[in-house]
């Protein structure tokens, strides 16, 4: 997902007997569905885990601007250009909302940014794959946003108030993203032979990376168990991945495209599809920085940050001068 493999305390979920009175009261509130707000008492592990998770989510939105932004100047019509620009702009906005949610926990946006830029914090593996043809823009909306929505809709109910409210706003704005992607795919799949080939090529390349977005199976993970107990994670990775495959396969069939998985077949007994796992070695390689675009992505983000420093400093210096003039006049 946009936040993959977020580590929590690593200690496993405490039993009631092991909890301090504050911890027990905290867990009671979460179990009762009461939101945790910035000034409420919270375990340090909850705060640290959430900063990691929300920060990683925010970074994913910002780095996620790059693969789609890659096609803004090449969009094939004025309308497609406007829609794509509006969508990539939304992602900047979503990053902004999420950073603001993290900032309520006492970390600044600049601190989080610096941790992304020097590699201490991660972003979703999916954005280390390239967008090579125009159908990739359709496939990113359809598959990547589709997978993200699968995770973000339940996160609207997450226990931390500011995070939950950011997710509500994001889900509302995101509703058009997946549809615009599928709309591009429909045009391509129903278009010329070359367009159809682009659509199939995009699906072939992005299918498994999309499945990786949910992260490896976490049914035995202590981190996940703690996050689920704290309601900062709502479903397991496998549950979400299954849901995604079940939803997406009929959509691919409608397009007349072939999901690149020979083992894909409907399992009536479980009421879902059986499907091949992605190559998890590749996934861990990408997380280690060896995806096709990791280096380029980080270079772009670092360049934007470094070359923007004089602008941020310049406008701040001007604001300070103006404030000083105002004070002197009073």
């Amino acid at each position: 997902m946009y936040a993959q493999m977020v580590k929590s305390t690593g200690e496993g979920v405490k039993t009631r007997a092991e909890m301090s009175p504050e911890e027990a009261a905290f867990q009671d509130r979460i179990d009762a569905g009461i939101k945790i707000e910035p000034k409420d008492w919270m375990p340090e592990g909850y705060r640290k885990t959430l900063i990691r998770q929300i920060g990683q989510h925010a970074h994913s939105e910002i780095v996620g601007q790059l693969p789609e932004g890659n096609w803004i100047t090449r969009a094939p019509t004025l309308e497609r250009k406007a829609i794509l620009l509006a969508k990539v702009q939304d992602e900047a906005g979503h990053g902004l909302y999420l950073y603001a949610a993290a900032e309520t926990m006492g970390v600044s946006r600049d601190e989080l940014t610096e941790q992304l830029l020097d590699g201490r914090m991660k972003y979703s593996s999916i954005f280390n794959y390239p967008t090579l043809n125009w159908a990739d823009i359709g496939a990113v909306g359809w598959l990547v946003d589709g997978a993200a929505i699968m995770n973000q809709v339940p996160l609207q109910r997450t226990s931390y108030g500011p995070y939950s409210r950011a997710m509500i706003r994001i889900c509302k704005e995101e509703s058009f993203h997946q549809r615009q992607g599928y709309d591009i795919m429909m045009k391509m799949a129903q278009g010329t032979a070359a367009q159809k080939a682009m659509a199939q090529d995009a699906l072939n390349r992005l299918w498994y990376p999309s499945l990786m977005m949910f992260g490896p199976s976490d049914k035995d993970s202590v981190h996940s168990a703690q996050s689920l107990a704290w309601k900062i994670k709502i479903d397991t990775n496998d549950e979400l991945r299954q849901k995604f495959v079940d939803q997406t396969v009929p959509q691919a069939e409608y397009l007349g495209l072939t999901v690149p998985d020979e083992n894909l077949k409907w399992n009536a007994e479980k009421g879902g599809y059986d499907f091949s796992e992605p190559d998890w070695d590749e996934f861990f390689d990408v997380l280690r920085g060896n995806g096709p675009c990791n280096v380029d992505r980080m270079e772009k983000r670092n360049t934007a940050w470094d070359e923007g420093a004089w602008v941020r400093d310049g406008l701040m210096a001007h604001a300070a001068k103006r404030a000083a003039l105002k004070t002197a006049a009073e």
């Binding site: 803004i72 100047t73 094939p76 004025l78 990539v88 900047a92 070359a194 360049t303 400093d313």
Partner: protein, 250 residues
């Protein structure tokens, strides 16, 4: 082609090329808030392009669309002001280019609200609201960076020196502009220069920047007689899909 067609093409090509340039920033701006604001400006300009080129296509007849005009003409057929096709450079140069265009654009649109041609005044009525905000924002940024740090001041002065020779074209009418003025479609371009100069003088004073003395002006973009080499590279990106896969629907 009609005067109205030629006039709409000049407006639409400038908003198209500038919108394209500004959209290049998406995902690369110095701070998130500026990234979002630049995208809004680009979106406004692309929207205005659809209207202007839509009008030009309508006048041209033969079932052409705004997309046909944007994606299937070559460099010599473009009628945008040279200022709009210049590369982004650093953020300061982009914002200075934006400001120099915005002040002209606003004066132009305000005059076009009184156009004898209703289809022109309708577009101007919509665009003037957007551009009033563009100029507010670009002016503030030019002032903030001009009167910021020593480095930001120098960069903004460099940007102004580089871009100012492309300003004069905006106020230099040719026969088509004169025909548009005589038909009541558009104002006399030269008449916009005095209010433009007044606005620039005030802004640059506040920004502690010096307007260049020379009024030398590069020309040819709006008439199609001359472009910079940059335009062709914009078109190779912008038009690539339409050119490589002719007749496809996107």
């Amino acid at each position: 082609m009609s005067t109205l067609h030629d006039f709409a093409l000049r407006m639409g090509d400038s908003t198209l090329i500038l919108g394209h340039r500004v959209s290049e920033w998406c995902g690369h701006a110095p701070v998130l808030e500026e990234d979002i604001a630049l995208a809004n400006t680009a979106l406004d300009l692309i929207g205005q392009t659809q209207l202007w080129l839509g009008l030009a296509a309508e006048e041209e007849g033969s079932g052409k669309t705004a997309d046909d005009l944007a994606f299937l003409r070559d460099a010599w057929e473009f009628r945008n002001a040279l200022l709009t096709e210049l590369p982004n450079g650093d953020f300061g140069r982009t914002l200075m280019r934006q400001y120099l265009f915005d002040e002209w654009h606003l004066l132009m649109l305000q005059a076009l609200q009184g156009s004898s041609e209703k289809r022109v005044s309708d577009i101007a009525d919509k665009a003037v609201k957007e551009v009033s905000y563009h100029v507010e924002r670009s002016r503030d940024t030019v002032i903030g960076l001009g009167d910021g740090t020593a480095e930001s001041h120098k960069r903004m002065q460099d940007a102004l020196d580089y871009l100012y020779p492309y300003v004069g074209e905006l106020f230099t009418p040719d026969a088509i502009d004169e025909a548009a003025t005589n038909a009541g479609i558009a104002p006399d371009l030269a008449s916009l220069r005095a209010p433009y100069d007044a606005a620039l003088t005030a802004t640059m004073a506040e920004a502690t920047l010096s307007l260049p003395d020379s009024r030398f002006a590069h020309k040819g973009g709006r008439t199609g007689k001359m472009h910079t080499e940059h335009l062709g590279h914009i078109l190779t990106q912008m038009q690539w899909l339409q050119r490589a896969y002719p007749g496809a629907t996107w």
